[in-house]
Amino acid sequence: MNLLQRVWRSSLGKKYLMALTGLALFGFVVGHLVGNLQVFGNPELINSYAHFLKSKPGLLWGARLGLLATVAVHVGAALALSAANKAARPVAYSGGSAYGSSWRSRYMLVSGLVIMAFVVYHLLHYTVQLSPVNGVKGGLDFHSLTTRLADGTQVQDVYAMMIHGFQVGWVSLFYLIAQALLFIHLGHGLSSMFHSLGLRNHVWGPRIVAFAQVASLAVFLGYASIPVAVLTGMGGDYVKNLKKAPTTTIETLR
C-alpha cells in the first residue's frame, strides 16, 4: 500500500491531512488578511498590491489551484471523518450530552460548512465579480471600477470595490457572521491541529491553547475591522466622488 492510501484509509491519517491542510489554510487566512488590511492605507496601496498579484498569473493561478486542492482535501477529510463519527455514535443520550467538551469543538463541521458557503459567495462577489450578487443599490459592475496608479498604469479600483461592497448592509453582516464562525473554527482548529500532529505535551498543551485563542481572536478583529470601518464611514467620500466623476484619475483626486 502506498503512503497516500495508508494515510487516507486510517482515521488518524485523515486527521493529519486535516491538520496540515488546516495549517496551509490558516497561512492563507493570515496572508489574505495582511493584504486586505492595506485598505486602511492610501487607496493606491491596495490597488497596486492587487495589480501586482494579477500581473503574475502563473503565481496567482498556482496559488489558487493549490488553495482549491487544499480546501478539497480539508473538506473531503472532514466529511469522511464526520460521516464515520456519526456512524460510530448512532444514538444520542437523553439525559444531556457532550459533557466536558469545549463548545467550539462541537461546531467544527457547522462552522466549517458555513465558512465554505461564505467563501463561495466571497469568490463570486470579489474575485469573479458577478454583479447580481453584490447587492449594490441600482446595480454596479465592479469591473467598471478602474483607476490609474502613480506610474499611470490603468488598474482595477479594488479599493472602491471593497468600499462599495461593504457598504451593503447584509453583505457586511454575512461577512461578519462568517468571520465569527472562522473565529470559532480557528479557536479549536489551531490547537487541535498541533494535537493531531502529536506536537503537544503537558508543557506545550496550555501554550498551544493560548496561542489558538489569541490568534483566532486577532484574525477575527483584523477581518471584522474592514466592514465595520466601511459601515462607519471609511472611504465614503472616495466612492461618492467616484460617482460624481466616474472617470476620475488619481491625479484629479489629489
Binding site: 443520550y93 457532550a98 490547537s191
Partner: protein
C-alpha cells in the same frame, strides 16, 4: 431521601429498548449509586418485575466493569471516579435521575444497561503488549527506567478499560483508551522494539471496530475515572505518523538452521 429513576430497559441486543420510570424506596445518602440500584432491584424483584441489569464487579473503581451514563454523564456527576464510587449524597431528595448504557456502535447493548466492550480486548490483542516469553526476562534492574518516564507511563497505565471515554465522546472515539495503552508501553524502554508496529496495529484495529475519530473535544478526559490526559492522544498521533511514514517492514524469507 427518595429519587425517581428514568432507566433504559432493553431485553436483549436485538430488541428495541425504552425508558421506564421507577420510584426508589427510602434511601440513605451514604449509599453508593450501585447500592441504590441494588435496593431498587430488590424491590422490583419482590414486585415480580425483572431486576435492572447493570455491569458491576469490584465496586471500588478499579475493575472497569460499571458503565452507567447518569444524567448524560458517563460515571455520574463527580470527576475522577467510576460509577461505583458515586454516592447518593451527590443527589438531592426528589431528583429525577436518567440512567442509560454506554452508547456506541462498537459497544452493542447486551441487555438494559450492560454493553459489550470486547472491541477493547481485540484492540489489545492486535498489539497491546511487549513480546516477552516467560522465563526469558533479564534481571529487572538491568533495564533502568527514568523516574519521569516510569511515572508518566504509570499515569497512562492506570486506565481501567471501562470505556467511559468512548461513551462520552460525541464521535464514540476510543482514542484516549488506545493512546493510554500505546503510551504506557511506548514510554518504557522495554516497549521500544515494537513501538511503531504496536501503534500501527492497535490504531488500525480501532478503526476496524468502528470507533470514531478524535475531534479533541475533551469529553473523554473530563469523564475518565483515572483522569488520563489528552496529551497521550497527541503522543500516539506522533508515533502513528512515524509508523505511517516508515511503512511496513521488509518481508524476510527464513531458512532453517543447520
Amino acid at each position: 431521601m427518595k429519587v425517581s429513576l428514568k432507566v433504559w430497559r432493553q431485553k436483549n441486543a436485538n430488541a428495541a429498548g425504552e425508558f421506564k420510570t421507577y420510584a426508589s424506596p427510602e434511601l440513605n445518602p451514604n449509599m453508593s449509586f450501585l447500592e441504590m440500584l441494588d435496593v431498587v432491584n430488590e424491590e422490583l424483584s419482590n414486585q415480580g418485575e425483572e431486576p435492572i441489569a447493570f455491569g458491576h464487579d469490584c465496586r471500588e473503581g478499579i475493575c472497569g466493569t460499571c458503565s452507567l451514563v447518569i444524567d448524560g454523564k458517563p460515571h455520574g456527576p463527580h470527576k475522577g471516579v467510576a460509577t461505583c464510587q458515586t454516592y447518593m449524597r451527590s443527589f438531592s431528595n426528589g431528583d429525577r435521575i436518567v440512567i442509560e448504557p454506554w452508547r456506541a456502535k462498537a459497544f452493542p447493548i447486551i441487555k438494559d444497561l450492560v454493553c459489550d466492550r470486547k472491541a477493547f480486548d481485540r484492540i489489545q490483542q492486535a498489539g497491546g503488549f511487549i513480546s516477552v516469553r516467560t522465563g526469558s526476562a533479564p534481571d529487572a534492574n538491568s533495564i533502568p527506567v527514568s523516574k519521569e518516564n516510569a511515572d508518566l507511563a504509570m499515569d497512562a497505565a492506570q486506565c481501567i478499560g471501562c470505556g467511559a471515554c468512548v461513551a462520552a465522546c460525541k464521535n464514540a472515539s476510543a482514542m484516549l483508551f488506545v493512546s493510554a495503552k500505546v503510551s504506557h508501553l511506548g514510554l518504557m524502554p522495554q516497549g521500544q522494539p515494537e513501538r511503531y508496529k504496536r501503534v500501527k496495529a492497535m490504531v488500525d484495529q480501532m478503526d476496524t471496530e468502528g470507533f470514531g475519530a478524535c475531534t479533541v473535544t475533551g469529553s473523554c478526559e473530563a469523564v475518565c475515572p483515572k483522569e488520563i490526559s489528552l496529551d497521550f492522544i497527541a503522543r500516539m498521533n506522533r508515533d502513528y505518523a512515524v509508523a505511517l511514514i516508515q511503512g511496513d517492514p521488509k518481508q524476510v524469507v527464513g531458512g532453517g538452521a543447520g
